[in-house]
Amino acid sequence: MKVRRRRPRGSVEIGALISDLAFLLIIFFMVIALVTLESGLRLALPRAGDEAAAPQEAVLSVSVGPRGAFGVAGAPVSREELRRRVEAFRNRETNMVLLARVAPEAPYQAVVELVDIAREQDVENFSFSMEGE
């Protein structure tokens, strides 16, 4: 005699389905969150008029040439030398201001590098001016 077996109707399958769905949704949102996460260099810009208020001895002026070369006090400096100068200045003036005098055609990458070098030394005050402005 042929015996028919009834398949067990399971509420367990629904649970598995829901947990699968929840898991997929979590992965989806995690991926989306990672994609939209911003990263960069945070800095506080001086308010209009604050630049003049900073004492001259606390200002380190660094120029960025049209090809991205750095200069301090009119003399060209390498990135390593600039790092040392910023560090020495920062040790002397804890509340220093880094004034970037940038050529209009200077690549933006060089400006970011300058900010990066200063941020490595915990410099928080920045001012930007463009040559010929």
């Binding site: 960025v64 209009p104 990458q109």
Partner: protein, 137 residues
């Protein structure tokens, strides 16, 4: 005599549930695509001391290599961006602003945006950058 009839149990449509789950996933994916705005491709500048954002929403101002400006993906002139930005800052003074520009683009494109933020007395800004190559390895 009253006879109680047991109602026949209707089987739970499990297959139907899988369909709903699938549709839900498609719906959410489409919803996220709707908020997607195509932007010009930008080669981010590299930096060593890159900090990750806290996940909160930030206003993105983008300058491409040609100097075209975009506010949250919508192209506009400097004046238009200033007007829109002033409104947003007035409603939310703690608004986070992220400046995005191509590493190869001339600084003058970014400088006008920095000056604009200074005029609006908005000091908190993030210069978008990606971790330097040696940091990523």
């Amino acid at each position: 005599m009253k006879v109680l009839r047991r109602r026949a149990r209707t089987p739970l449509p499990i297959i139907g549930m899988a369909d709903i789950a699938f549709l839900l996933l498609v719906f959410i994916m489409l919803l996220s695509l709707m908020s997607y705005r195509p932007q010009p491709s930008v080669d981010y500048p590299e930096a060593k001391s890159v900090e990750s954002g806290d996940g909160g929403s930030a206003l993105r101002i983008l300058a491409d290599r040609e100097g075209t400006l975009y506010l949250d993906g919508v192209p506009g002139s400097l004046e238009e961006i200033e007007g829109a930005l002033a409104q947003r800052i007035a409603t939310d003074p703690s608004l986070k602003v992220e400046l995005v520009a191509d590493g190869e683009s001339p600084y003058r494109h970014v400088h006008s945006l920095l000056r604009l933020l200074q005029r609006l007395e908005h000091s908190a800004v993030t210069l978008a950058a990606r971790p330097a190559a040696e940091d990523r390895e």
